[in-house]
Symmetry: C2
Subunit: 229 residues, 2 copies
Amino acid sequence: MPLEALRPSPLVEQAAQRLQDQITGGDWPVGTRLPGETTLAKTLGVGRSTVREALRALAGAGLVQPRQGAGVFVIATEPTEDWPARLRRAAVGDVYEVRAMVEVQAAQLAAVRRTDDDVAALRAALEGRRTAAGSGTAAFVDADIALHAAVVAAAHNPVLTDLFTEFVPALRQGLIDLVELLDLRGRDPQPGDARHAALVDAVADGDGTTASRILREEFDETLGQLAER
Amino acid sequence: MPLEALRPSPLVEQAAQRLQDQITGGDWPVGTRLPGETTLAKTLGVGRSTVREALRALAGAGLVQPRQGAGVFVIATEPTEDWPARLRRAAVGDVYEVRAMVEVQAAQLAAVRRTDDDVAALRAALEGRRTAAGSGTAAFVDADIALHAAVVAAAHNPVLTDLFTEFVPALRQGLIDLVELLDLRGRDPQPGDARHAALVDAVADGDGTTASRILREEFDETLGQLAER
DNA sequence: CACATCAACTCCTCAGACAACCTGAGGAGT
DNA sequence: ACTCCTCAGGTTGTCTGAGGAGTTGATGTG
């Protein structure tokens, strides 16, 4: 009975964690049939229902798959990539840098592919950013992100759009911290307005070079400020 | 007892599915406390343990979170985005396009940040690509991806590295299809060797402009070929 | 009004029982 | 030699009953 403690808090989660470790650790590669529930129960020192729930949790995460009468089988060795969590863990600078990479190029594409509807959405988002100038930091950041999202959307690449969406939560918090830290809105309630207007115009005019240059300047500046801290 | 049949196959999965429908369908928004286990058991017409396992499966998928004594709460309305699956579903062209965006910029960064170890890894990967010229398509594509991965790694941004890793599976299959479809290796067993060598040299020399230009040419060419089909 | 107490409710864990099902071995038939 | 059948053992699926532990909101007290 090679185990210790296994006492505090939900036993199910501890059991699931231990099983998952065995899987992600490579002890049980894909295709392996896990020991039976009663065996696992004895090994882990918990009841069979507890083991069952732990296995069910792993099944829900897509790691294992039970087959009645046959056993429980490993079908994946990694819990479905939890990108939002990973981004939350990552350094703000790294996230921002990748975001900059993607968006600079997206702007270029957007200038080529934008439809009239896109342009309308961009102008609306720009207006929204101006309106949000009078609101709190969070609201302003949201409006800013909405504008950038509109640029990305104008590139008409679903993968790109999804990618940007994935970045939004991490970006949002990072930007709120940044704006308040640097007191960006102390002097100017809507910092970078001229630049964002120029960006929208460039995309509308189909001038991808200018659009991406504007964004690059914007991001380089922010990244520089981030690096100073 | 508003239910029908609910007999064949695992009751747990059916119960979980029904609960998930309630959540994704908007009936139970984020923050909602689900009915108690006994209530759900009666409503679904199954035993309590079955309900518990169904809830545990949803918890494993990140949809709900149980709190002892308080209840089970909805914490998300969508099963954690399965990016690999999404990429598999997406059009090859879209995936490739985003990959190009990211990598062109990554090359520029890599030229600035690469260490001597990175350069060694790059040269080794280039050599591996040449060696794989005599092998099958899959092996060649793997070697090609390894080289590009080395470029991305040289940028020293963990978020970027993770992102590229996420793209690899979709990329791999797409590239294999592409190479065989276009018969790229019919005339030249290691297409683009000169260009890749120049890329490695540019990164080694710290010439980011050249590095990213080379990659851009490469990708534009491939994207052009993809567009023709 | 602030605070302590308490009861009802919730999830957590276990044990036991039976049903449904899969797998592999061995025998019967072709 | 091959196929098919049967069967036993093991495995997951499901239910029930019983406590344990924690949270929450109402109640009562000062």
